[in-house]
């Protein structure tokens, strides 16, 4: 007999983030989050496995989108394919700039969340390397291309989600990919 909860997921995510920034991640319970969002704890657990996952919901969706983009990409250089797939797969984040900025602040304020973020990015990189390998890129080259592209994505994402840029997320990632090329590619 669940009652109808318009946007419960988004409300829960916003409530969680507010609380993490107000009182800290450790000091926030699922009960607090559910209360702030005006839903039951059961509703929380219908949407998220635990209070950490609230912040990594987008990362999981990003990974699916990126892998799909790699699978259907035109032929080309592995770094390019990975870079373009990261731009395409992250398009849905474009409208979440304000949330992303607050999320970055919450993650950097908590070592446990920061570690989780690094591991999620490492997993994204491994998944991209496997997808590139499935298209025929040798394993070693696929890993290097994936790691360089994810590093650029991460830099672009952070710049975009920070204050003081008018660039879109896609533009920020593309700029970081070009910067990576310039830094690594010139002897």
């Amino acid at each position: 007999m669940a009652r109808w909860e318009p946007d419960a997921r988004a409300r829960l995510a916003n409530a969680a983030l507010d609380l993490y920034l107000e009182r800290g991640f450790e000091q926030t319970t699922v009960t607090d989050i559910a209360q702030r969002a005006g839903v039951t704890e059961r509703t929380f657990f219908r949407h998220f496995a635990d209070k950490r996952e609230v912040l990594f919901d987008g990362t999981n969706a990003l990974q699916s989108g990126v892998l799909e983009a790699i699978a259907t990409a035109q032929d080309g250089n592995a770094f390019d394919i990975a870079g373009r797939a990261l731009v395409a797969g992250s398009a849905f984040l474009e409208e979440r700039g304000e949330f992303a900025g607050r999320r970055t602040r919450a993650i950097l304020a908590n070592p446990e969340l920061h570690e989780r973020e690094l591991l999620k990015l490492a997993r994204l990189s491994t998944a991209i390397a496997e997808a590139l390998h499935d298209r025929g890129t040798p394993t070693g080259a696929a890993r290097l291309a994936a790691q360089a592209a994810v590093a650029a994505f991460s830099a672009g994402f952070e710049r975009w989600s920070g204050a003081g840029t008018s660039a879109t997320l896609a533009e920020s990632i593309e700029a970081a990919l070009a910067e990576m090329r310039g830094i690594v590619g010139t002897a």
Copy 2:
């Protein structure tokens, strides 16, 4: 009244690694390790903070060596400086090939150790980026250069520590750095 323990540190590291590979990391206690190495638990804790750190002793030494090499490097491209510093800083690992190969197997067999390895590499990358920044490289470029160089180092290290290569560690890292250039640098 500590008795004299020739090479207790190396004996402990080898004993720990043997046990992790024989029965698994989770199933091994510090007591087991000390016993196998023929020393007391107290001796173990004089050398290592916990049973996980046994495997990351080299990573800490690597980081110090790399940062020193960056601080004293000639001017040049940030990716080059980071790459050369990783080669120089890892020279002491060259004679530990057999240990490194078994260490990689133990780490890949345990998710907790694998996460720790990823985090240590992420920290190494952050430290390199800061050292590059101290020399005048802008923050964003320093981070990208550091991440690309660490990704190449890690690939080279893994290839070297795996079976079936006659290349030295330095040669393996240099090959991976060159491969990274080729992959990222060509449009």
